[in-house]
């Protein structure tokens, strides 16, 4: 009798160990192999700059309060407050010590698209790699080339201020298992190259969903609520719904959306505000066809 119970206990323990091992394995950082990043050739700097503005790196990585050309010094240091604690955005200027000047393309690509740091560690999703995961290897290569042309800074940002357990990078594997996703975010009511380009810009580089999609308590996107609007993480007010179901932009034409992204003016000549100001300034630097693609995509997503 005792023998049987021991056997059951042992096999339960066995299952638990196998389960834990599987979970451990499933939640390990998963970079793409070196070969994925090989043979991409010389970067195209003009495209790299376009990717740079579409990706909005300056909004987080420029030194806080910098204006004009000083924004291109990606010295880091901005404090990003979140429900989990405060993140201090790192230096990604070409400085070989303080920045990413010493990184290989594979290290950079795996940070951007897999959320894996140069030491093989998980990165925090406050860096929007859950969106950048959609980037093509060519765009990653061109962006990396362009970043190297920007000024270097020796600034070292302070470490993040996160309480246990959020300070355990290993635990991010569980988060990724639940929420990391490089597939399409929502069914589209139109097809064609323009809408596809818009999808790439909105779901990927522009990381629009990071602000406009509501989150669950663990920080993952709520399902079925793509771009449906969310509370403002900075306090009062809301980040608006930008689906065709919005009381506001649901009434706008595609041309109205294009004008807003280019000039910051709504059809009522209200002017863009809040954290959208920097996004709009970045969008204004893109070629017109990119703003048109974004507008076409925003008209093709489900109305919420």
């Amino acid at each position: 009798m005792a023998g049987k119970r021991t056997r059951i206990l042992l096999s339960l323990a066995g299952i638990a160990v196998v389960g834990a091992a599987a979970l451990f394995y499933l939640t390990l950082p998963a970079p793409l192999p070196e070969a994925h990043w090989a043979g991409l050739g010389e970067p195209d700097m003009a495209n790299g700059e376009r990717v740079f503005w579409a990706g909005g790196c300056v909004s987080c990585h420029a030194a806080p309060g910098s204006e004009g050309d000083a924004k291109k010094v990606l010295a880091g240091g901005l404090a990003l407050k979140s429900p989990f604690g405060t993140f201090h955005v790192p230096n990604i200027s070409p400085d070989p010590k303080a920045g990413i000047g010493g990184w290989t393309l594979a290290q950079f690509g795996n940070a951007m698209t897999r959320g894996v740091g140069p030491g093989g560690e998980h990165l925090y999703p406050s860096f929007p790699y859950n969106s950048y995961a959609r980037m093509t290897p060519k765009d990653v290569n061109d962006l990396f080339g362009f970043l190297k042309t920007l000024p270097a800074s020796a600034n070292v940002a302070p470490p993040h201020e996160l309480p246990f357990p959020f300070n355990q990078r290993i635990a991010l594997g569980g988060w990724k298992l639940l929420f990391f996703n490089d597939g399409p975010r929502a069914p589209l009511s139109a097809s064609g190259d323009q809408v596809k380009r818009g999808q790439y810009l909105v779901e990927g580089l522009g990381h629009c969903g990071e602000c406009h999609t509501p989150r669950n308590p663990l920080g993952g996107f709520q399902s079925g609520r793509w771009l449906a609007g969310a509370p403002n993480p900075e306090g009062q007010g809301r980040i608006p719904d930008i689906t065709p179901g919005s009381k506001s932009i649901g009434q706008w034409s595609e041309a109205d959306i294009v004008t807003y992204l280019e000039t910051g003016f709504t059809p009522e000549f209200d002017s863009v505000g809040g954290s959208m100001v920097e996004v709009q300034q970045n969008m204004a630097r893109l070629p017109a066809e990119d703003r048109e693609a974004i507008a076409a995509y925003l008209k093709a997503i489900p109305a919420l």
């Binding site: 009062q236 007010g237 809301r238 000549f269 002017s271």
Partner: protein
Amino acid sequence: MRFRLIATAALAAALGVGTALAAGTKDEREAIMKKIGGAMGQLVAITKDEKPYDAAVVKTALTTIAESVKAFPDQFPPGSEKNSPAASPKIWENMDDFKAKADKLHADAEGLLAQLPADKAGVGAAVKALGADCGACHQAYRLKVD
């Protein structure tokens, strides 16, 4: 005793509301901004070739913007923090900066009046310069409420 306390509290509350109503209602704030928005719309129509360049229209629009924004900070007296959800509480924390941003738009509109944009391209440059002033204040102090 208790009745007197309640009465005093009610009176104080009534007075508080009274001062808040004196200036800075949601309607007053929105009316000023709508005027400014409308004037901006007339300038943008010229840049988009929806209307021909007309010096008189440009002058009126710039005058409306300069005069309206001058009175705007008066709509945010102490105690009016809760009057409109689109006005960020940061306005009252940084009143000097808020006023400076209104002054900047006022000064830029006055500057353009002194050297009136002479053609469509000039109006385009004016829209860009003024638009940056709108964005700078809305970035810090205007909230969206859906």
